[in-house]
């Protein structure tokens, strides 16, 4: 039948193919809508989670990003509570691999001393007044750090003595 049509009309579609094209467009739009819905519900980041470790009366809670995207701010908050306060400096050991995935802007408060090994960076903080120590990390997700199922750890040490630790994962959506 197409051969009988004038040359300029041979590429013109009939009702059936128009319906097929419409159905294909609808399928594409549904996929797109699902993706946007995933973004709207926070499934593609940023999602936060909290993990808590407790020992010897010390309770450490780390609030961290679970899912994030390159460039956006990531929450990293450490809260250490101990009834009766802190006698001396406290040290946080944070997985070196986790810090590599961030563009660090700064700590609040700043550590009084820091050192590192191949696996951990150790930050020592002066004891706070009162029973609670709080640390905020101002950071953004570094580019080219997609995916990863690595488990990261944050540990609380008093002097050289490990007290408690928590572990979590961070997924960076491409």
């Amino acid at each position: 039948m197409a051969d009988r049509l004038p040359p300029t009309l041979r590429s013109v579609r009939d009702d059936n193919s128009v319906r097929r094209a419409r159905n294909s467009r609808r399928a594409g739009l549904i996929l797109l809508a699902l993706f946007v819905l995933a973004g709207l519900t926070g499934f593609l980041g940023i999602r936060t989670a909290s993990v808590t470790g407790e020992a010897d009366g010390y309770r450490m809670t780390v609030t961290h990003a679970q899912v994030t995207r390159a460039g956006i701010a990531v929450p990293f908050h450490v809260r250490v509570a101990h009834a009766g306060g802190f006698d001396g400096p406290l040290t946080l050991a944070i997985s070196e691999g986790l810090l590599e995935r961030f563009d660090l802007q700064g700590f609040y408060p700043n550590p009084s001393a820091e050192t590192g090994t191949a696996d951990y960076v150790y930050y020592e903080f002066d004891p706070p007044p009162g029973d609670v120590f709080e640390l905020n990390l101002d950071a953004r997700t570094a580019p080219d750090q997609n995916g990863s199922t690595t488990v990261y750890r944050t540990a609380l040490l008093l002097g050289d003595r490990p007290v408690t630790d928590v572990s979590f994962r961070l997924w960076v959506v491409p």
Partner: protein
């Protein structure tokens, strides 16, 4: 979630801008206006994506814009009464050879631009025009007088 909301707000703002500037500016972009448009695109991008470098962020913003565009066209098809608000209305510029000066003033359309459009359609004189209609996309349609 914020990214999708920012994209939706910016879509609404851009729609408002295109409705506010009028039909003529949409149909006839000068070189300066074209540069302005590209610059506006850059400014909009910063407001929407901010420091999000991710591919998924780009897909989310473009996807939000695309879905809202489809929603707009569906609304104008399903509810024809919404068309004047969402898309604007064509207006008559010339009727039976008579130029509608008030309409030209409302649309900020200089007589020179109307003359130019008429020349491009092969008219020597506006007296030969039965109807000239400024379409919602900024173009002008001409109808010959039959007599």
């Amino acid at each position: 979630m914020e990214l999708v909301i920012r994209a939706a707000v910016m879509f609404a703002f851009l729609w408002l801008i295109t409705r506010a500037v009028g039909k003529r500016e949409l149909g006839q972009l000068s070189a300066f206006e074209l540069v302005l448009l590209v610059t506006m695109g850059d400014l909009v991008q910063q407001g929407v994506t901010q420091e999000d470098y991710s591919v998924s962020g780009a897909v989310l913003t473009v996807g939000t814009f695309a879905l809202l565009s489809v929603a707009l066209s569906y609304i104008t098809w399903r509810f024809p009464r919404s068309r004047p608000v969402l898309k604007g209305q064509p207006v008559v510029l010339v009727r039976s050879g008579e130029t509608q000066d008030k309409v030209l003033e409302y649309e900020r359309l200089p007589m020179d631009d109307l003359m130019e459009a008429a020349r491009k359609d092969g008219f020597r004189d506006l007296a030969e025009v039965d109807l000239a209609v400024l379409e919602t996309d900024g173009s002008i349609s001409f109808f010959h007088r039959s007599d």
